[in-house]
Symmetry: C3
């Protein structure tokens, strides 16, 4: 896998976000199905349906929710709040209703953000029967004390939970899990950005012959990963590395949240990538909140799954509001995210452990033509250092990444040295 990104990738990712943006998704229903159908134009997803009522560990797959229309009309018959204008206007999983009520009766069902009066908040009520509308605080303040017609044309019925899965077989059955949620309505960074990043990683990886098998999951958050884990307990034993992708399109610095294990190879890989990058970043410790890493890292599984983000959830004001829109995410940020993620995957693929075939003293590199010829110069062996490090530490106990960490050299430089040394019979990859 080589890291050949062009400005095209960012544009393509952005374009597909634009296409997916208007769809009203929730944790079940036709919004997710339509989303997966569009993804399938890019990669050959398998689409799975899990019937409502299925027990998945401590949870139960909920009824399926669909919505046709919703509005609040004032007494002039004008739609003062209109689902057609923004699918955020309706609390997700709102029950159907059609009635008239006073502003006083309506108010407990209205959600606004007084501190961001121009944005519609996003609210959900997946596991409690309820209904409600979200609107900008500005809209809210114009509401007169009159009677309103309140209508939500939704359905909550037996159906199923839908998710997509795409497996790229590798040279081994050891797996890399890449998981994104596809359950949010018109919100770009959280998480259409992660969705399109996963798609482009998949497109890139399937064009190579990867060492690992890659499993991509496009799932509703929480219930989706729980349902998948519940049905694949045995399969999780093959997962060697994993990553949840979310909030990867904004202009902020990068954030890598470590797996619960804290020192998994994937944790080391992302730390290494960013340490050797020029970008702003922070590596944060695991905590049991956030995205589906909560489930993958639950104590019964404790999978080595981290979470890759730019600005983390809840730390930008646009989060879970209509401000998380097509302006908030931009092609160049998506592309950077793609690039770093690909670098990390490339390191995972290449992070082998070698055994020196000439462990007693240094081999004579000069006679093989891979060492400077004239001795004595004080600039030393700058160019030879990666080879010398690989030879010195390839005792079967240090992976290339571990040698990179100890030497302070970038992974790529050491990997190239390893390839030269393998070509000359001086190193041999081993299974540790």
């Amino acid at each position: 896998m080589t890291d050949k990104t062009s400005t095209q990738v960012g544009q393509e990712m952005y374009r597909f976000i634009t296409e997916l943006y208007p769809i009203c998704r929730s944790i079940t229903g036709d919004g997710v199905r339509e989303t997966l159908r569009l993804i399938r134009k890019h990669i050959p997803l398998e689409i799975h349906e899990i019937p409502s009522g299925t027990k998945v560990f401590d949870w139960t797959v909920p009824q399926e929710w669909n919505i046709q229309d919703a509005y609040i009309k004032n007494n002039k018959g004008e739609r003062v709040v209109d689902f057609k204008k923004s699918n955020l206007h309706v609390v997700s999983y709102s029950q159907p209703i059609h009635t008239k009520m006073t502003l006083g009766e309506l108010k407990p069902h209205l959600h606004t953000l007084p501190e961001s009066p121009e944005w519609i908040p996003w609210r959900t009520s997946y596991y409690k029967e309820s209904w409600g509308f979200c609107l900008t605080h500005k809209q809210f303040q114009t509401l007169q004390d009159e009677e309103y017609e309140v209508c939500i044309q939704s359905s909550l019925e037996k159906g199923s939970l839908t998710y997509g899965e795409y497996v790229i077989p590798g040279q081994t059955t050891e797996e890399v899990l890449i998981s994104v949620n596809v359950c949010h309505p018109s919100l770009c960074n959280d998480n259409l950005s992660g969705t399109v990043l996963a798609i482009h990683l998949a497109k890139k990886i399937r064009s190579e012959k990867p060492r690992y098998t890659y499993r991509f999951l496009f799932i509703p958050t929480t219930i989706g990963s729980i349902a998948w884990l519940s049905g694949h307990e045995k399969a999780t034993e093959n997962i060697r590395h994993g990553i949840v992708l979310t909030c990867v399109g904004d202009s902020g610095g990068f954030t890598y949240k470590k797996s619960r294990r804290g020192n998994a190879e994937i944790d080391q890989v992302f730390s290494h990538v960013f340490k050797h990058s020029q970008c702003e970043y922070s590596i944060i410790e695991f905590f049991p909140y956030g995205y589906d890493e909560r489930q993958y890292c639950s104590p019964g599984f404790n999978l080595p799954v981290g979470c890759f983000m730019r600005t983390p959830h809840g730390q930008y004001p646009e989060y879970h509001t209509s401000g998380d829109n097509l302006t908030f995410v931009q092609p160049q940020f998506l592309e950077e995210s793609f690039s770093y993620c690909l670098q990390a995957m490339t390191i995972l693929e290449r992070n082998k452990t070698f055994m020196s075939q000439n462990p007693n003293c240094e081999p004579q590199l000069g006679k093989r033509g891979i060492y400077k010829v004239m001795g004595g110069q004080s600039d030393g062996a700058k160019k030879e250092m990666p080879m010398l490090w690989m030879l010195n530490l390839s005792d079967g106990h240090h992976s290339v990444l571990e040698i990179a960490e100890r030497s302070g050299l970038p992974f790529d430089v050491l990997y190239e040295a390893a390839e030269i040394l393998v070509d000359h019979g001086l190193l041999k990859a081993i299974t540790r």
Copy 2:
């Protein structure tokens, strides 16, 4: 055990110091017996006597020392140094003497503090036959070159070493050892303060049904702990945690000196308490000097016993002088010490390890009514974090304290979350 201290506790502690202050204690003799008799009015001590001459490891219980009176009279017959005015005036374990001598002959037996001319120093000569007087440097400078009558009415005879022991039985035979020395004469911080703190902890703990068995020792320093250890070698196997209390009544910040092990649970507990407090404190490493932790932490025992102080011994000028008086210690400082110590004991009592009863993915807290209902808000799960941490790390390998350290949350908050989760059948305490 709940932490319900009132300003009363500090006052009570101080009042009892006032009562114990005038008694002339030493490592043996009636001063210790009178002290233990007064303590017995508060808690039902058992009083033990170990005969002089008893071998205790490398040591021998010394002869018993008692003193009735002592003075230095000038040639006008005036008591220029008078034991009745301060029991610090006589070097502890001084042999009896009654004779006349010149100032020149007397001087080698006089001890003063030229740098603190208003204070009488405290000196001892437990293990070498000797006699002497201590006086302020100011007094010393007024002494004329004349003949003095020198009298010490003391006795050094076969008798015994006296100590007090109070055991509060717990639900288990695993023990917490709390040790204080009661061998210093009129010195308040060192160590009437530790003595009254131990008494009030004992009163508090016996009013609960503690998990641990608590053993309180009121002993003469060094020889007392050696004698006790010598007679209880087998019993020490039950000691899980221990603490020496001393110098806890002055106005300085807190000091916790770790056990020789350096990472014992008691060490972690005190570190946690102070890290989450607002007070000035320092956590210091073990060193083989100080109080009876020297003996408990000798290599043959290596017990997990720390030392809890405010200003450590030797680091305040009043230390081991008449300046360590009833003004130097104050009720509010005693009370603070009591409060932090009780917090530590409470954590010890509560520091269990739980096992999640639902380790695969998160349990659905919402259906149990212990999770926020409306989703989407960006303030996240602030209130739920303690529950989420407890669930995520209760894999049998993390105690509540270890979860507190990893999460950065205070112990109490996690313990309350654990109690809720136990009530809902989601956690179960285990024996690790």
Copy 3:
């Protein structure tokens, strides 16, 4: 071994450098032989010869190189570059040549340092057939475009590689390896300084009855250590500690480069010595470049061998130039290096592990006359602390050096305390 250095040592070391300086050494040849012959006047070296063509691991002992004369004459017959003036003028291992050529033809064979125009660089071509001259850039710039007579009277023939070895038998067969290279021509810091340091350490150590057996190697760099290791694979099993000495005569601060293991006893010893010194120093991590530690620390051997230097190779402009001369190194710097090195060896010799013979509680030091008599003073047990630390940590798991590290006290102070305690039957050295 006691540390009794006088200003004489530095003078003697410097004087011997002066004697060795003019000799034209290379990795083989009579220059090395003459050097070893002179060293033999100080210590009874065994001199070994390994025939050209001998396989030593991945390497082959090269042909022997000797040189009588070399010059470049201008068309007036003047020697514009003259080997007699500096043996650096000829690239080491230059093949014989005698011909005429234009400046243009000559230039590819000329090496200068434009950034240090007054210095002749030192260049080698051990493993590639070649020839060349080194000269100051200033000289180079005066060369006219004329025909030159170029002459190198050297020989490259079957012969042998010569090295010296001196073993001081100790009380045990466990060895300390001290290795220096003797293959550089007229360069003082690198490495006549290391050579004379090794000689003086040997003279000092053989005057004691050391615990360890000391093996001193005087070898050509790289091929010398490879050849020695190749012939002594089994013998390396006895090596417990080792050090390469180089660049120890300049005015810079000290540098200790750790062994590949990173926490070997020799690493801890040098760290301790410098931590408790007043001098400027840095302790650096191992890297697979530098001197013969590269070979000793190759993965097949992984010996606990560090490298002791003042300013490291390549970090001073005089390095590998004629600037590394008799002015660049000075007696006082050589002597300091000797002193610190000897301190380290002394600690190695003394770094035993003791077992307390009285592990239960402290022994009563007072009755043995090794404890202050009068109690109560606030200056505490300053003088007794080393004894108390030794007694507290001598549980069979802490060497004196480890106790020094934990207590923060200097090794010597603890070792003296240990000797007192051994005399009183309170400690006993054990084999760990």
